[in-house]
Symmetry: C2
Subunit: 251 residues, 2 copies
């Protein structure tokens, strides 16, 4: 009774996440919006903590997050884990696989998420027939790339507190762009250990850094909720410049 209707609602709201992100940066023709909506029709829920696709896989499906949270990650020989991207609603998981043919990393859900599975041939057809949409998808992967560059700078050249603050700022802006902010707060279903793998520090030091940021009144992260009392202040502390996200500008 309830399940079906809720899913329908979410899907509807969802077509939004991707389209909304794209529209914040470019104008989309009505028929393109329709085509994107059509793409998102077959969505399904996936439990948290499941692998959507693993390193080495070569199956042809492309995944898109409509609701929830997922991450890209790699595991090192010594068992250390590195989370190299967070995927929020509107983000493609693996456009890679449609073009590169094989995954060089894995993707897992962090919580129960609504995921679209797009057959590879649909993407192939899209590239063949719809240059405007191809461009839009390419835009998505270039924004991902820009985000990676910023993470690299973050990891290489910023001290722990600033690095973590920068991460919270980025997520704030990305969630804002797809309407997933709740006031000055957002939902982030990560343990401290997982957060550690995102910002490249040990679990212990992640804990201490979080305390430091809370003590300074910049940001708090408790019970899977991030609270940012003053975004501008946090952004200044983090030296955060949202330009690399390419949101809210004309193409």
């Amino acid at each position: 009774l309830k399940g079906g209707a809720v899913i329908e609602m979410d899907v509807k709201q969802q077509g939004n996440a991707l389209i909304r992100k794209l529209q914040s940066a470019m104008r989309l023709a009505d028929e393109d919006v329709a085509r994107l909506t059509e793409l998102c029709r077959e969505a399904a829920f996936v439990e948290g903590g499941r692998d959507l696709i693993g390193e080495g896989d070569a199956t042809g499906n492309v995944h898109l997050v409509l609701e929830g949270l997922a991450c890209r990650y790699k595991i090192l020989p010594d068992g250390k884990r590195s989370i190299v991207a967070l995927l929020v609603p509107g983000d493609f998981c693996d456009l890679n696989i449609a073009i590169l043919g094989r995954m060089d990393h894995s993707i897992a859900t962090m919580e129960r998420s609504l995921i679209v599975r797009i057959p590879r041939h649909v993407i192939d057809n899209l590239i063949e027939e719809h240059p405007r949409l191809t461009r839009a998808l390419w835009w998505c992967s270039l924004v991902d790339e820009a985000t990676l560059r910023e993470w690299l700078v973050n990891l290489g050249r910023r001290p722990a507190a600033r690095r973590m603050a920068h991460f919270f700022c980025e997520l704030y802006k990305r969630l804002e762009a797809v309407g997933r902010l709740e006031g000055d707060t957002y939902h982030l279903p990560l343990s401290q250990g997982q957060l550690a793998d995102v910002v490249g520090m040990s679990g212990v030091h992640t804990n201490r850094t979080l305390q430091e940021l809370r003590r300074k009144g910049l940001v708090s992260f408790e019970r899977n909720t991030v609270s940012i009392p003053g975004f501008v202040r946090l952004a200044r502390f983090a030296e955060f410049d949202p330009g690399y996200l390419h949101l809210g500008e004309a193409s």
Copy 2:
């Protein structure tokens, strides 16, 4: 007398770098090869240490390295610099700008380099009319993205010596793919300070790490030349797995 002929030779050899890279991963139709060769016709030398394009620029030209070396970099407010990518022959500098519209980082040459400048409208036209080539260019930017992910893991989870060794391995494989290796040696026009900005360490520690790697007989870097007496041994030490470069496989 000599200059012109040399340039001609290089350009010819050059069309190679991009095409060779692509062909290592996919089959190209003859007409696509011809089109790519045509793209590379107007190449020019640029001195070392020059910015090809700066952060915030929105001019429409896309650059391609045919010969030489360039890098992507960002400067932080406190003056620290982070080099987020090295561009070897066959690499595009800023496909970004054709799709995203604005640069979120800068690009500079590291030595005298042969650079192709492709007007934006040529790229636009290509996306509109030639899906196979569009796919090839997209492939390039996805490989760049995969490389960034690996750099992120490198920076976040590997100790200094292994990190640097991993970097030398990557460059070895990339240069091999475009035929720029000289035996077990390759040319790398970087100062230790610039190398430090690549691997995210201080100049002093870069120096000490280089000494350690040399002492162990794994790799040496002197007078702009990297020598790798045994690649397999170095790769094992670095935990290097070239899969993420997506060279030498079928698409």
